[in-house]
Symmetry: C2
């Protein structure tokens, strides 16, 4: 690939343009808002000048609701040899294009699984996609040349290509992204009217469950509007589990020992299925979370305490894979949990103890 046009210079479009430009591809930037394209160009993402002839690849990075019409326009104008979009849903845009009667051999729908809290070209970075899954949804009609252009883009962005059927993709993101967002919001919504005293009892569990409930509602309305069916299907199955669980809890209130037993079994069942699902969630490096061991150290909250621990861990040659700091309410002291490969745990424990750190068993 030598030339590309990026249509839509928001976070994703500009980040892809930065990655392509950084690896020697001539990138032309287009946006409905010329100041956005200008910002992207100023960041080194490419040029605002129009290409002289068709480019190798057109990357359409506009909001889901406009994806099909922008793609159709670009394809009618013949701006490129191959076309792809990066919208977070894949079935809808394809069906819209089909309805427009467009030949789809030169098109491939894709979805890079990367993002951040901020949007717009100023939030863009060339490394946004590094190591992230980038879903490609070719059909039997997709030109091999177009698939290879998409694979080249993914490689230049240092992402990990994952080939999926468009509808399977939409069901997968409904399951692993869109549903958790809505459920997190619903748990957090219960706190809106809670007593201040109740809220004081919040611990790390609810803190983690509700973290993404802080997300931008408008952005999520747009995402969910493009994938309502698969999300409703997953939520309906959770609703069935929820109804069963409420019934099981009511059984636990019963005076009848058999009903209490049935209730306890129902509760245990949903908790065990939760265990089974949770172990499938990949950790970083794709490892299951259980693959790390925790070394816990008590610290004060003075600057330099963490530095000392990390320095001593570094000296011991042990790599810290993840960190969690648990602070007690209203207190400065806290417990640092250092996640390490199992082989490193005893080495790290011994090294830190030797240097006087209060390592917890």
């Amino acid at each position: 690939m030598r030339t590309a046009v990026v249509i839509g210079t928001g976070l994703v479009g500009t980040s892809a343009a930065l990655a392509l430009s950084g690896r020697g591809v001539q990138v032309h930037l287009v946006d409905r808002d010329p100041s956005s394209a200008g910002t992207a160009a100023a960041l080194g993402a490419g040029t605002e000048e129009a290409p002289e002839g068709p480019v190798d690849l057109a990357v359409v990075a506009v909001p889901p609701a406009h994806t099909a019409s922008v793609l159709a326009g670009a394809m009618r104008d013949g701006v490129a040899r191959g076309y792809l979009d990066v919208a977070s849903v894949k079935g809808g845009p394809r069906r819209e294009l089909e309805a427009l009667g467009i030949d789809l051999t030169a098109y491939i729908g894709t979805h890079p699984m990367a993002g951040k809290e901020r949007s717009g070209p100023l939030a863009a970075t060339a490394d946004l996609f590094e190591g992230r899954p980038w879903v490609l949804t070719p059909t039997p009609h997709t030109d091999t040349e177009v698939l290879n252009l998409a694979l080249e883009l993914v490689a230049l962005c240092r992402a990990v290509p994952v080939v999926m059927d468009a509808d399977a993709h939409d069901r997968a993101v409904a399951l692993v992204s869109h549903t958790p967002q809505l459920v997190s919001s619903m748990v957090a919504a219960r706190l809106e009217e809670a007593d201040e005293t109740a809220v004081r009892l919040c611990g790390q569990g609810i803190r983690d469950v509700t973290r993404i409930a802080a997300s931008d509602p408008r952005m999520w309305v747009e995402i969910l509007s493009a994938n309502p069916g698969p999300v409703a299907d997953v939520l309906a199955r959770i609703a069935a589990d929820l109804d069963e669980t409420v019934r099981a809890l009511r059984g636990l209130e019963s005076a009848d020992a058999d009903e209490r037993r049935t209730g306890a079994d129902g509760i245990e069942d949903v908790l065990r299925r939760g265990n089974a699902g949770r172990v499938r969630v990949p950790g970083k490096h794709g490892a299951a979370p259980a693959a790390y061991e925790v070394v816990a150290v008590l610290i004060s909250d003075r600057p330099g305490e963490l530095a000392g621990i990390f320095a001593d861990a570094g000296r011991a040659g042990v790599n810290i894979e993840d960190v969690r700091i648990e602070h007690a309410t209203g207190q400065q002291a806290g417990l640092v949990q250092l996640m390490v490969e199992p082989s490193g745990a005893p080495v790290l424990s011994a090294a830190l103890s030797e240097r006087g750190w209060p390592v917890r068993p």
Copy 2:
């Protein structure tokens, strides 16, 4: 308080005994399993010898199902001036004691909001309760002397006393602890049958939402069995939101523009209520999560990288309040997010940039 008896030398009982012994209180240890009391005594939590006369305070730290009967036995034997339990629910034990016709002026129900993954005396530490909320549920009939003994215990354990009505406590933990556990399990349970390709698309959002789905089912069946009514009430309200949300999503699939508009409004409503609830969740030090700013730095995964960052942060005099490390799938490099007080963010950014760290805007 000069003397105490701790009945039940598991994690909580032994930790309280260690804190009391460490601050000069004479502690007598009792457990149905003598080897457990022996272990606690060997750790320095107190003596296995019986007290010569009534002690100042009896701390009953047995499983919820046995709390009332053990309390009743101790009160009939007159082992102490004041009695408290530490069970994770408070309404049930009180009603059981009332049903037994026991004078409750010398009793106060309490609940220390502290725990860990491991149980038993060997997991105990004198600092388990440091800075954690410790709920006290006095009634108008509770002797002031007994309330003061409980407050003294909480102070000696360096916890933060929170006075609540017993039933309000049970509703609060249903909301902030028991419900998030079940909902996390239900989201994780959806992954049990998911395609491997779908699971590969998991990101940090679902990872956080399902973290506590890894919890021990048996322990949670016991906890939930003691508080089924309040948990069912919260879950029923979430179920109502869930049904509304499924309806809103179905509306978004409609051909009718009005129905789509109503659907989008319904989705936006639940997301906004989630925002409003989430800001009420206290962060560490009791601060709302929004109170921190994030300074993000790209690192490789070599030992010593984190040490260097923390050392340079320490030199800049900026205290790091929390850390999150985001690793890309299948990659060694990652993004370190350093949470700092807002005033410290520009100082830290400048200091790290100056020392050559790739700080992300």
